[in-house]
Amino acid sequence: MLRDPMVTAVQEKTGAGKSVDADLARRAFRTMLLARATEEKLAALYRAGMIKGGVFLGKGQEALSTASAIFLRKGDIFGPLIRDQAGRLAFGDTVLDTLRTYLGSAKGPMRGRDGNIHRGRPKEGYYAMISHLGALIPVVAGGLYARRLRGETGVVGVTSIGDGATSTGAFHEGVNLAAVERLPLVVVVANNQYAYSTPNNRQFACADLLDKAAGYGIAGFKCDGTDPAACLETLHLAVQAAREGHGPQLVVATLLRLVGHGEHDDAGYVDPGLRKANVGRDCLDVGAAQLIEAGTATAADIAAWTKEAQAEVEAALNKAQREKGPDPDTEDWQAISTEHLVEGQYDTEDE
């Protein structure tokens, strides 16, 4: 039996688009600002030794991350990864829950059981990544599949991935499976030139990661990840195409991570030339200039929004810092939900 040939379109978006109105542009920019303010605070807390474990930030990727989630609505699925603080906020995560998770508050969504970027609220379509890169792609595909089974239509799932993790088996298997099932999945590749220290020329040999879209028989988009307007325009189209039933969409954005892999890492391996090139622009600077030029905001507006974002972070920190961590003595220490099948901690009891 012959299958319908899939629409394989490759589109490149640059500059301001028509489909993104001023309101949305403002909302997106404020989300970027809030993410940046949140992450700056996280970095400061890390340096002060107040966060246990690593801190992994997305500085420079706020535009792409925001755009990934801002077109989603209730009932959609978002599966963010390491550098998606902005997208998480756009999807409805809060600064408070972010700080709670980093500080180990029992009131956070992860209750101290997991930390930092490994957070989510699956019941709300906000999936919680595991560290194993690539692993979330088939999971988001599965979420979409279940929604289809339930007869829900017009649902979209977005998940993101780095250039490095496009080399995983899970990426290949997940994207291929989504293509075969024609699921409304948008996979956003943040091609930030490095996977930890590994440059792209040690990661893949294709001329452009977008070439992979054709191999899977899915649509592909590319955009300048440092350009907020281009990111919004591109993701708007990709999400819409998925929502309208055109199957998986691969979005490849080019940008640079403007921080280390984690806050422990000085990123000395990054080619200084890249930092000075277009790819090394700070999307917040680009976004501010775009808003001012379009008359969507003034420099004074942006300064005020920045202050507001910082104040929101301060307020959330005040609250999160006063909350208690989990109490090992009252923890249930149960890894399964079926009460009568819980073995109990026979091994470590009463110590």
């Binding site: 490994h118 560290s131 995983t168 040690r202 391996y269 109490d327 091994d347 110590e351």
Partner: protein
Amino acid sequence: MSVTYLEAIRAAQEKALSDDPRVFIYGQDVGVFGGAFKATKNLAAEFPGRVMDSPLSEDAIVGMAIGAAIEGARPIVEMQFADFSTVGFNQIVNQAATLYYRTDVPCPIVVRLPSGGTLGAGPFHSQSMEAIYSHYPGLVVMTPATVEDAYSMLLEAVAIDDPVIFCEHKLLYYHLKADKLPDTAQPAGKARIARAGRDATVVTYSAMLHESLQAAEELVEEGWQIEVIDLRTVKPLDTDTVLASVARTGRLLVVGEAWPWGGVTAEVISRIATEGFGLLDAAPMRLNAKDTPVPYHPDLWAAHRPTASAVAARLRKLLTQ
């Protein structure tokens, strides 16, 4: 001068590369960057073309090492964290582990697993996977607890003609120090009496050796002499050394950082119960992590893993039983 556990691992790889042209190192960020933990620092410069960054592809990394080993190379593969070896699991347990049995061609690869819990590392950067790999026939599983063993066992791992899973503990990387690297070594597969005693035997390995030694120290003040055995290699398991110790002490506690169901501690107890039941004056005991993923929060983590005080408490129970 002193040398850390991590430096010993680096030095062993340096020696392996310089002694044997068949050796190469492959893994994520192991090249110029020197690895996530710097276990291959400067090796790429010292040995051009033999210490290479891989793509982010654990399955392919291990598979590639296996192919190279078939052709006579001696690859050392670094997993960035032990936890990510699950992505290369199929290649390790089905390809590497079965090769010799099926084809009479051995598979001399070393897979280095930065293992075990550290503060704030959470569910996916803390796992102890020795039991899982030991379950599969065809693999040697090493769990060095000392700087000397980290060095000499890694060299031995490279020399061994079979696939070796080298579980190095991240908690020991920077803090555990020795005066110098060893010139001689006990062979793999032999356990070591890390502390002699007469009242009870603690059998353990990897980072739990240090918790157990501390617990034994604590009990000296209470008048107890605890013998502590470091298994060093969990597969093969040196049952004889454990049996001989239990013959002297009559009491056995087995301590491991991995999860309680099955695993190394259960295996030791099962062997001593079947082969040395008559030697036991009390029911053997064991202590493991709790049966949940490794929690992120420091307070939960401290309660999740066995600590010196938990080992001491368990020993008090064992001694008064």
